[in-house]
Amino acid sequence: MSLTEFFSMGGYAFYVWGSYAVTALLMLIEVILVVRRRRTLLDRLGRIHGAAHGAWRDGAGNETQT
């Protein structure tokens, strides 16, 4: 089986690779989002605990965006 043959998937390349590509992409996005959420969270917490304890309270929790 040649490489082109493999990628053509017997004429169903669009459907097969479309499925796999979107799945991979969505999972990748989810991982990136989760990792980024963790980074920003730790970043904020670190800044707060460097300063006064509890500066980051009240409201929706999205202030102190210095």
Binding site: F6, M9, G10, G11, Y12, Y15, V16, G18, S19, Y20, V22, T23, L26, M27, E30, V31, V34, V35, R37, R38, L41, L42, D43, L45, G46, I48, H49, G50, H53, G54, W56, R57, A60, G61
Partner: protein, 247 residues
């Protein structure tokens, strides 16, 4: 592994445990995915009826299974949180929802891409696809309700109750959709009909399912760690963690 359940049901002690476990699940997910893809693309034979297009099932079916499993696990944690008032269970339910919705969407997407070459239509009102669509609505309802409530305690309890209502209704909805489908003689997407599934196909599918599980656990553990940090940000131990991990 003799885990002391009660010790790890407190967020403060679950946090480091989850942190140690998550990378291992991530590695397991990657290895299993590679194995599954190898089996699916190079070992499993071409289906004599559907040609190469059938290879979509190696993600379609596992994703569909995951979407239902995750809903059940989520409802289980939600129930636990409501009955025993444990915060960790509520965090788990909340962390599971986005991944569950993701798999539901993937199963719908791949279902459409599979249906087009097989039935000549992007969407057929097949019982399974329809149920999957409704499941997506249930996930979205859960996520939106949680997002709409500001008080974290009310959000956890209200969405927990909603997850339980959903879990009771899922079998009823599934049964009614099946009934509706047979009455209207709709198309049925089924692998088992006609083509007997080769053992290697089944193996590849199971390996991919396992890979999705490992992925889910890794992502959910990481997300639950974020939840814990956010909710407990005023406590002493979070202050310690923050100063340790940001350095």
């Amino acid at each position: 592994m003799a885990l002391n359940w009660f010790k790890y049901s407190s967020p403060a002690s679950f946090y480091p445990l989850a942190g140690r476990l998550a990378p291992w699940f991530g590695v397991a997910a990657a290895l299993l995915t590679l194995t599954g893809l190898y089996l699916g693309f190079f070992v499993a034979p071409t289906d004599y009826k559907q040609g190469e297009a059938y290879r979509i099932i190696f993600i379609h079916v596992p994703a569909a299974w995951m979407s239902m499993f995750i809903y059940l696990v989520m409802a289980f944690y939600a129930g636990l949180g409501l009955v025993f008032n444990t915060r960790l269970s509520a965090f788990m339910a909340r962390a599971l929802a986005p991944t569950g919705a993701l798999f539901t969407f993937i199963s719908l997407w791949t279902g459409a891409l599979w249906g087009k070459p097989m039935w000549g239509a992007w969407w057929v009102w097949d019982a399974r696809l329809t149920s999957e669509l409704i499941l997506l609505f249930l996930y979205l309802g859960f996520i939106s309700l949680q997002a709409a409530i500001e008080d974290p305690r009310r959000a956890a309890r209200a969405s927990g109750l909603l997850a339980l209502i959903g879990a009771v209704n899922v079998p009823i909805i599934y049964f009614s959709v099946q009934w509706w489908n047979t009455l209207h003689q709709g198309a049925s997407i089924s692998m088992s009909q006609g083509s007997a599934m080769a053992a290697t196909m089944l193996t590849a599918m199971l390996v991919m399912t396992l890979a999705f599980w490992m992925y889910t656990i890794a992502v959910v553990l990481t997300r639950v760690r974020c939840e814990i940090l956010e909710r407990e940000r005023h406590s002493e131990w979070v202050a310690e963690v923050a100063s340790r991990e940001t350095r």
